[in-house]
Symmetry: C2
């Protein structure tokens, strides 16, 4: 039986759309960040707070990827930011073709930045370029401090690491999590990664993330 190299063919089609997306975004000088994490790390809560806190300075639109439901897009729209929901109906990552369609539905001219909230999954989304300027990996402290060594690909490829839910570390030992270990392990995989310990719930640490984000937006102008 002749072997068909399907992985390569699919990635080829994805790369074509990723290139188109990148051209659309570059032409408009829009920042586009592809957010990747496990389910429940707090990506949507991070976005809701970021959009609200930066509403006077950075206009953000969101492409929401989920296996099912439009719960997350509704949460984003409550901030009045535009959000396009993509349901993958079982697929474990967004494709560049899906993002291409969503980019055409977003009011791009009115935006400074587009966040793509990928399907909650620390493995598959890291392998598919969507045309973004950079990937952002989010890790909740409740997930444990061994994740960079156990899931290295996404940490090696990301521009920034948001370590979320640090409020669970406050006042003692609700969660065992060694921030220094995660810093060190992430930097071993990726010496340039920016690391932001934050709580999207309490706001702790968010200003450093906003400053970085603002610098990324300005660098494209």
């Amino acid at each position: 039986m002749k072997k068909v190299d399907v992985g390569k063919r699919i990635l080829g089609a994805n790369e074509t759309y990723a290139l188109r997306n990148s051209q659309i975004l570059n032409r408009g000088k829009k920042l586009c960040l592809n957010m990747i994490s496990s389910p429940g790390s707090g990506k949507t809560t991070l976005l809701v707070r970021t959009i609200s806190d930066l509403s006077d300075t950075v206009a953000i639109g969101v492409i929401e990827g989920d296996v099912q439901t439009d719960i997350d897009a509704e949460r984003i729209r409550a901030t009045r930011a535009p959000a396009i929901q993509i349901n993958t109906e079982g697929a474990c990552h967004l494709s560049a073709a899906q993002v291409n369609k969503a980019l055409q539905e977003l009011p791009l001219d009115d935006l400074d930045a587009v966040f793509i909230e990928n399907v909650g999954n620390l493995v598959c989304p890291s392998a598919f370029a969507l045309g973004e300027n950079g990937k952002i990996v989010v890790l909740s402290v409740a997930e444990g401090d061994d994740k960079p060594v156990k899931y290295p690909a996404i940490f090696a490829k990301s521009k920034a690491l948001l370590i979320n839910k640090i409020d669970l570390l406050a006042g003692g030992l609700q969660v065992d999590f060694d921030l220094d270990r995660v810093h060190a392990d992430a930097r071993k995989l990726n010496k340039d990664i920016a690391v932001f310990p934050v709580s999207a719930k309490t706001g702790e640490g968010m200003q450093q993330w906003y400053d970085w984000l603002d610098a990324q937006v300005r660098s494209l102008r």
Copy 2:
């Protein structure tokens, strides 16, 4: 171009190995549970505590699936239980062929039950039968109470749901999580699912899980 139905062909090969695994396990009257969850829900900690607490009554062996590292198998072996590590090198789920090889390496005659700890991923592993008697889904309260509706497949297919890290709900509002909502949403997808709110850290709720597990082992004798 002729379309090749690759999904079907791969699933076919997987099903063949799953059937073989199932025959091996049935012949030996061994319980085999396939544990599936997001990264960091606490699967390994749950297993370590379960193995230790049941060491006098149920002999457990473990097949550990991870993208990289053998950290988890080492944690299991510290309990003196046998553990076989499989590294998927990037793949987002275990295959039945990998489990087949591991089953041949485990001292099956000395065991009552085999736990397969799948790769941390709430999407992909749910689509691949490994020859198990049942799937177990683990959800940490830190991941949020919207996961059954957002990732329905694994909740629909599992025999039991372990809601872990309930210690984070104690004494107030460290984590916002509506246990009743998760019960109701999981039962809507799967009326027979057994639900166990537990803390593998403090031991709370673990006895009900042990009773259920013991009944599953006995039912095969």
